[in-house]
């Protein structure tokens, strides 16, 4: 694998109307590597691919191909070919003509086209299918035609947009290996887009984890799995116990009211952190050697291991072990220090802090109304004079998704949802700021919801009094 970048994205920004799709993407893609863009739906991975292919032009930023700026180069002039999500085979052409499409445009002699197409079809195991109509092929075969059609043009870079999404599990696994082998055999740069983390880990030389229009982490599959950069990556890649902790000192972290040793250093003393522990890294030990004691709630046989849910205080741990424990048993648990991964919190503070001035207030009703991003929000059972400047601390549990569909703030974007052992920690984005919310239910990321504030859980202090006192 050469270390020279064949393709570079610099500060790519892209939006549809008000919706920011890509926010400052910087990425170098090396020659002959298999790189995967991985992320939940709506994270911008397909848009990134379309920008590389030339179907979209970034609103700002530069795309370099072999050190040449190609922002405005139309797709047909790029030495890049795409395998489309739903294959996009030409229905009016047979298998041979589909594969030969690109070569015919290059005005290649007929004999040579025939030779190349036949060779490529044999590589993808479709020898003898030349005259078949593409609609008479199975999903897996259509997939191979699409791959052959892209590869036969001998491009420098092949883009694959979730090419295995429509196939069933078994075929998908076979094709994963085949694609990887094909990439090694042809020595091309493959840029692969998927939302399937297992697929990404299986096939890639490097994985780019994307979230909400930005790159969360770039690294080898091992790096990404073992050293996730934040709770989002840890949650998205594989299974993980992610809980809130406090970094007492270098190599000392407090989780579930218990101080345990770890290997991470360099965090601020007593700062809140996210602690990630993979389920296979929690050892079941005798109670006298244990760091934590918990009760087994559930045991499921998963083939290779048992998956157990263990209630430890109020927190539910997920444990993988080859030895099953009985439901209801109390067990001891121990975690090796180097299996404890400490990372900065996704949200800088643990509460939502706002400075608000009182818009109007009603002494008789004992209510105060403030403006939050242009919406009137009424605080019940609290009275402050109009014009008073307030400092409001809303803890995560004071926010909730409006069940009746009408909230204090509408159309708030769900950026991430992470299970923290006791509840979900949800990060939201409204027009002007981000919010942290706590919820017992699962929510779909990359959707818009209305949220309501419960000011009875808020801590409100006065910064300065209003001027027009009565």
């Amino acid at each position: 694998m050469g270390k020279n970048a064949i393709l570079s994205l610099k500060d790519i920004y892209f939006n549809y109307g008000n919706e920011v799709i890509l926010n400052g993407i910087n990425l170098d893609i090396y020659d002959k590597e298999f790189i995967t863009l991985l992320g939940p739906s709506g994270c911008g991975k397909t848009t990134t691919l379309r920008i590389i292919a030339g179907f979209e032009t970034p609103k700002s930023g530069e795309v370099y191909f072999e050190n040449k700026l190609i922002n405005d180069l139309p797709p047909y002039k790029r030495s890049i070919n795409t395998v489309f999500q739903k294959y996009a085979l030409f229905p009016h052409l047979n298998v041979f003509d589909n594969v030969a499409f690109g070569l015919k445009l290059k005005k290649m002699p007929k004999k040579e086209i025939e030779k190349k197409v036949k060779h490529m079809l044999s590589i993808v195991d479709l020898k003898g299918y030349e005259k078949r109509s593409v609609s008479a092929l199975s999903g897996g075969q259509q997939q191979r035609v699409a791959i052959a059609r892209a590869l036969v043009c001998d491009p420098d870079v092949v883009l694959l947009d979730e090419p295995l999404g429509a196939l069933d599990l078994k075929l998908r696994k076979d094709m994963q290996l085949e694609l990887k082998q094909l990439q090694q055999k042809t020595q091309k740069t493959f840029i692969y887009v998927t939302h399937d983390q297992e697929e990404a880990l299986t096939m890639s030389d490097r994985v780019v984890v994307m979230n909400n229009g930005s790159i969360a982490q770039i690294g080898t599959p091992e790096d990404i799995y073992n050293e996730p950069s934040d709770a989002f990556v840890a949650d998205f890649i594989g299974e993980a116990n992610i809980i809130n902790g406090i970094m007492i000192d270098d190599c000392r972290v407090k989780i579930l009211q218990k101080e345990i040793p770890c290997v991470d250093t360099g965090f601020k003393k007593n700062s809140p952190v996210d602690v990630v522990i993979r389920p296979e890294d929690i050892e079941v030990v005798d109670k006298d050697k244990a760091q934590f004691i918990g009760v087994v709630e559930d045991t499921v046989f998963k083939g290779v291991h048992f998956e157990m849910s263990v209630m430890c205080g109020k927190c539910l741990w997920l444990i993988h072990s080859t030895v099953a424990q009985k439901v209801g048993d109390t067990i001891g648990m121990y975690i090796e220090p180097d299996n404890i991964h400490i990372m900065n919190k996704l949200f800088a503070t643990s509460n939502n802090e706002l400075d608000l001035s009182v818009y109007y207030s009603d002494k008789d009703d004992n209510t105060t109304t403030v403006l939050i991003e242009g919406n009137e929000v009424t605080i019940k059972d609290k009275f402050f004079e109009e014009g008073t400047l307030l400092h409001v601390v809303l803890p995560p549990e004071a926010l909730s998704i409006a069940g009746d569909g009408v909230g204090n703030l509408d159309e708030v974007y769900i950026e991430s949802v992470i299970w923290k052992g006791e509840h979900n920690e949800i990060i939201l984005e409204s027009d002007e700021r981000k919010w942290i919310m706590q919820s017992d239910t699962d929510e779909q990321v990359a959707t818009y919801v209305p949220i309501t504030f419960d000011f009875s859980k808020a801590d409100i202090s006065v910064i300065s009094e209003g001027e027009n006192e009565e």
Binding site: A53, G54, F55, P74, P75, Y76, I80, N81, T82, F84, Q85, K86, A88, L89, F90, P91, H92, L93, F101, G102, L105, K106, R149, A150, C153
Partner: protein, 263 residues
Amino acid sequence: MKNKRTSYPYLLWMLIFTIVPIAMVIYYAFTDESGKFSLSSFVNASDYSEIFLYSLLVALISTAICLVLAYPLSFRISRCSKSKQRMIIMFLMVPMWMNFLLRIYAWVLILQNYGPLDMILSFFGIDITLIGNTSAVVVGMVYEFLPFMILPLHTVMSKIDNSLIEAAQDLGSNSFYVFKKVIFPLSIPGIISGITMVFVPTASTFLVAQYLGGTQFMIGDVIERVFQSDHHTGSAIALVLMVVILGFLVFMNRFGDEEAVGV
């Protein structure tokens, strides 16, 4: 097997309104006044062969103009969002909600001497007769039948997935090749049904030429006139027209099949 009985009303309809009338036309065409077999009606019908050819020519020109106008328009519409497509198609259909004769009469008012268009042109010193000639008939035909070209084209084109166009670009096609290699071959079924839906009625329609063509009658008008006095000759002309149109349809379909395989 589905219940056959549900198709009975339709079969009855076919029998009464399609099979029987065609049989009657054939019967009249091959008999004379006395009811005996005769080809004399066809001999009489040959008097109108010039008008017949003229009608086919007008139909051909009108169909060609409809195709040229409708093709780019349909493609442009098919690349809009679904809701926009529905709205544009509805606006294109609005004139069809009005009576056929009213629409033709509107063209008479527009094109007539000292009518608005004539006045505007003479203001610029262009002095030509706009009505009572083949051009006026073609204008009327195109106006009447353009929607019948747009609809089938749009239906077919809206089914061409954008990813096919992108795939063609991706494989090295510029806009011209995208059109030649992907859009055109995939839109052939639409072109064929569009041509059929415009050519057949324009060849056989009547009244348009009577209103806009002055003395230039078309075969539809002839059939109407002749039928009033002579059922036999009228039937003979109608039968010839039917056979020609049938031949045309067979040709179009065969051509379409070859195209779809050949490219």
